[in-house]
């Protein structure tokens, strides 16, 4: 019902052109227009981190970002991370360390952790805890998530 905007951006390494309503959030564009449902709606107001994506190398709550603002940017979602080496390592570590229960928050944590380790490859446990404080998990009690990220931070054996 609202005005549409034509935008172009890089999504998971591939050029993407799409026409989106001006008031549409990036979260809804990803999920509803582009079919990338790995990014989750948890609260819609930037408090839970389930919708975390990477935009130009910075993690964002996609629920708080207008889709139109993706124009000209480099956007990476959990689906894109699945293809990266860092993402692969993190995902394996989350599995191995039991950092997943219901799993709803997990993509957001994996995305956030990817960015955290890029910025702080040697992050300590306390730094990891700080680095994921914007992501809520109701199942795990966070400890196994922290352990998984710490494990993924270690250099190759």
């Amino acid at each position: 019902m609202s005005i549409k905007v034509e935008i172009g951006f890089k999504l998971n390494g591939v050029a993407c052109r799409i026409s989106v309503p001006a008031d549409l959030s990036t979260l809804r564009m990803l999920r509803e227009e582009l079919g990338l449902t790995g990014t989750k709606y948890g609260c819609g107001e930037g408090e839970c981190g389930a919708c975390t994506i990477v935009v130009d190398g910075v993690t964002m709550n996609s629920c708080l970002m207008f889709a139109a603002d993706c124009d000209g940017r480099d956007v990476v979602t959990i689906e894109g991370l699945a293809a990266s080496r860092r993402g692969e390592r993190l995902r394996e570590a989350f599995v191995k360390h039991g950092a997943v229960q219901c799993g709803f928050c997990t993509p957001g944590f994996v995305v956030q952790a990817t960015r955290l380790l890029e910025k702080h490859p040697q992050a300590s446990a306390a730094e990891i805890q700080r680095g994921i404080e914007g992501n809520l998990c109701r199942c795990t009690g966070y400890r196994k998530i922290v352990e998984a990220i710490a494990d993924a931070a270690l250099p190759d054996q």
Binding site: T37, C48, A82, F94, Q101, G103, L136, G141, Y142
Partner: protein
């Protein structure tokens, strides 16, 4: 068949760290939760909820909403005269007729082409209310002149809104008391007479809510024959099939429930809520699939809470430390309607009567209607509240005697073999080991003495340690006619096993543990198993995920099916190999000779040889496990679970007396889990439960004022975040329960239960101030420490 090399026997899977089978999909964003599912042709629903806490509905004008392009249906109670009351007490109509009783109440609903259109249409509906007095305190609701929240329906409400003869949501209560529970054993008067020390206190436990990360949702779709397919987050699919069938007046066989993976349960999905029937009505009327997803605000306002409780406890003991009696009087704020929260006394009274040996005991509960949100079931089911009071009194009595609280607890702790006056038979009981283990590992006794000696040292930052223990059902809970679970197990031509189980996976890891148990029986690796567990047209019956029962009940069921399959395979292999079935075993994907592990035949090859002959046989078995537990009688006595779980936790806190900030530093826990099956899974359950308990104790508080939820968002409702978690030291006490699968007992709820109680005891140990009302937020703690707390008082008579 030629014997080949001996098999390298892989070690047992039991007790190993097994990653969850669904974790690879979940970590890569591939898992499709209900919000990720769209059905072709689906419409989107939104619900209009009350803006008044308590009011009569004078009129509803839906004309503008109906006229909006893209709107397919707008419904109010008038449009669905066939609707029936739902919930535990059948006191709740999905769409309200003559009045609203709480802010969440559903008045109308819209199905439209898009969520935006549905939202716009909801805003166009006009409701004319006539406000009624608001009862937001159960004590006010109990007053003799209090207005009735559920008066007998009259006028309009028995007119066009309801089909003549259809049940109305009126349970005939003469006052606002929704439910009462009474339990008694022994003679509390005699018990008190022989007591040397008696203590009495009133405790107040607050509202919290589940905060599942995935919001509630449902998709309803009727086929042309009128069969209903429901995509649902329920954790009790088979019970809900029946309830929906009653609601629609159709045969339950015509309802199929598919359960996509769910974004958290914790008990919240144990009841039917109005949004589910409403979406079914919309699908019925529009003849289109209809999907509804809550917003987070809606999730906070319109999903259940933990039961808030006012609890008066009176306890006594003799000079030698023997407990003599306990009297508990509790008042439950039922909210506007009755869900499972009202029935938490079932669990609360077990803790009151049987966590420790108490000869004389009395328990009384009233659940009272108010205009507040209504409480459902939530991990622990009343046990956090009861344990909070009981464990405060264990410390207070010990202090009054000058006895060490650990010694006091050990003196009164249950032993294996005990049958309590309430009829619970503790065939295995590791309570004493749990208590001793946590005390030793946390250095409880020394720290407690030293902390108490520092109350007056002038340092504003104090340390404290506090202990609590818990008892919970660990072998199911027979509250329905059956507490069973069915399994269908098939083994294909390649020795791949499909476990079809009634047990729902809600993130807790049930499909992994069931696979593990089956592989252990059949000598296979986890890669050889697929679990089917989410479609009522396929899966056999199960009572649902609750009462920490799934590993125990579904686990025994899966083992039963696997053993039958194994017997069948070995009997056939015996016939072919010339060896007796008793001389054979399944190991490492082969039929082997039991004595020396010598391979007889590769299992896949053998399965094919069974299938591809003129006397073909399939290996497909079924098993139904019903635990050897009993219903409680009318006095609430009986051995309701096949096993009981025990735990103790010591919490160490730091209290800043200048700010009231309490930090949970460390939790030392010991859990009698029977036996560890999946070490990774059980650690995850316990760590998650501990942090959920931490939130209950310290940060979470659903602020309900005058019936209005003041903080329906994660900004103001504080879940614990990663930097705040305590150090955790968890020990497992393996008592090898004779009935449990491989000796295991249930654990799902246990870890959340003791934390608030132990933290309260730790704050006392740090400061010398006992706080009787949770949560221990900085404001509440500061007020308590500086004599500014509102006293918790209740004249229960």
């Amino acid at each position: 068949m030629a014997a080949t090399d001996p098999v390298v026997v892989p070690q047992s899977l039991i007790g190993q760290r097994i990653p969850k089978l669904d974790a690879p999909d979940k970590t890569s964003g591939r898992t499709r939760y209900i919000d990720d599912i769209d059905v072709p042709g689906q419409l989107h629903a939104r619900i209009l909820r009350s803006t008044e806490v308590h009011a009569k509905i004078r009129s509803i004008d839906t004309s503008a909403a109906r006229a909006l392009p893209g709107v397919h249906a707008v419904i109010t109670a008038r449009d669905v005269p066939w609707q029936r009351p739902i919930g535990v007490a059948k006191d709740h109509l999905p769409l309200k007729t003559d009045r609203v009783r709480s802010l969440r109440d559903e008045i109308a609903a819209v199905a439209a082409d898009t969520v935006e259109i549905a939202e716009a249409a909801v805003k166009l509906i006009k409701v004319d209310y006539e406000p009624l007095p608001i009862l937001s305190d159960p004590l006010d609701a109990l007053k003799p002149d209090a207005p009735l929240i559920h008066p007998e329906p009259r006028g309009e409400d028995v007119g066009p809104h309801l089909k003549p003869g259809a049940p109305v949501a009126f349970t005939g209560k003469p006052d606002n008391v929704a439910m009462t529970f009474d339990y008694a054993q022994g003679d509390v008067v005699a018990g008190e007479a022989e007591s040397d020390v008696v203590v009495e206190d009133t405790f107040r436990l607050h509202y919290v809510t589940h905060c599942c990360m995935g919001v509630s949702g449902v998709i309803a779709d009727f086929d042309p024959k009128g069969n209903l397919l429901l995509y649902s987050n329920t954790q009790v699919p088979f019970l809900h099939k029946r309830e929906f069938a009653e609601l629609l007046g159709i045969d339950p066989g015509r309802i199929r429930i598919i359960q996509p993976p769910i974004g958290g349960g914790f008990g919240s999905k144990l009841d039917i809520y109005p949004f589910e029937p409403i979406v079914i009505f919309l699908a019925q009327i529009t003849r289109r699939p209809v999907k509804l997803m809550f917003t987070r605000t809606e999730e906070f306002i319109a999903s259940p809470t933990r039961q808030p409780v006012l609890l008066k406890l009176r306890s006594g003991c003799k000079q030698d430390g023997t407990l003599t009696f306990r009297t508990a009087e509790t008042l439950h704020d039922n909210g506007a309607y009755t869900s499972w929260g009202a029935t938490t006394p079932f669990v609360m009274m077990q803790t009151i009567s049987s966590l420790y040996r108490v000869p004389h005991c009395q328990y009384h509960t009233k659940a009272v209607y108010t205009n507040n949100p209504y409480a459902g079931s939530f991990r622990g089911y009343g046990n956090l509240q009861a344990t909070f009071a009981v464990e405060a009194h264990m410390d207070k009595l010990a202090d009054a005697l000058g006895m060490d609280p650990l010694e006091f607890r050990l003196k009164n702790a249950q032993d294996p073999g005990e049958v309590t006056p309430q009829g619970m038979h503790f065939k295995t009981c590791g309570l004493k080991q749990c208590l001793s283990t946590v005390a030793a590992r946390s250095d409880y006794q020394r720290k407690r003495r030293e902390n108490a000696a520092r109350w007056q040292d002038g340092n504003p930052v104090k340390r404290g340690v506090g202990m609590a223990a818990m008892l919970h059902v660990g072998g199911g809970a027979k509250i329905y006619p059956s507490d069973g679970c069915g399994t269908i197990l098939k083994i294909d031509d390649f020795a791949h096993v499909t476990i079809i189980t009634g047990a729902s996976e809600i993130g807790q890891g049930s499909e992994t543990v069931l696979s593990q148990l089956v592989c252990e029986e059949l000598g296979l690796t986890l890669a050889a198993v697929t679990v089917v567990n989410n479609d009522t047209d396929i899966t056999p019956w199960d009572v649902g995920v609750h009462a920490s029962r799934t590993t125990f009940i579904a686990g025994n069921s899966a083992i039963g099916a696997a053993r039958q399959a194994k017997a069948k395979i070995l009997a056939s292999a015996a016939a072919k190999s010339g060896l007796a079935a008793e001389e054979l075993d399944l190991k490492g994907g082969h039929v082997v000779r039991k004595a020396d592990g010598e391979r007889v035949v590769e299992l896949g090859k053998f399965m094919r040889s069974l299938h591809f002959t003129d006397k073909a046989q399939l290996v497909m078995t079924t098993f139904y496990y019903e635990p050897p537990s009993k219903h409680q009688d009318k006095q609430f006595k009986g051995d309701v679970s096949a096993a009981y779980a025990w735990a103790s936790q010591v919490c160490e806190v730091e209290v800043d007396t200048d700010t009231g900030i309490v930090r949970l530093i460390k939790v030392t826990g010991a859990h009698d889990v029977g036996r560890v099956l999946n070490r990774l899974g059980i650690e995850g359950q316990i760590e998650g439960g501990v942090v959920m308990g931490q939130g209950y104790a310290l940060t979470e508080n659903l602020m309900v004022e005058g019936g209005i939820t003041r903080n329906p968002n994660f900004r103001d409702y504080k879940l614990v975040t990663a930097p705040e978690i305590p150090e955790m030291d968890i020990s497992f006490i393996e008592t090898m329960d004779g009935e449990g699968p491989q000796g295991a007992k249930g654990v799902g709820e246990a870890p959340a239960i003791c934390i608030a109680a132990a933290v309260a005891n730790a704050i006392y140990n740090a400061t010398g101030t006992r706080i009787y009302a949770a949560p221990f937020t900085p404001e509440n703690v500061y007020r308590a420490l500086h004599g500014a707390a509102e006293p918790v008082a209740w004249n229960a008579a």
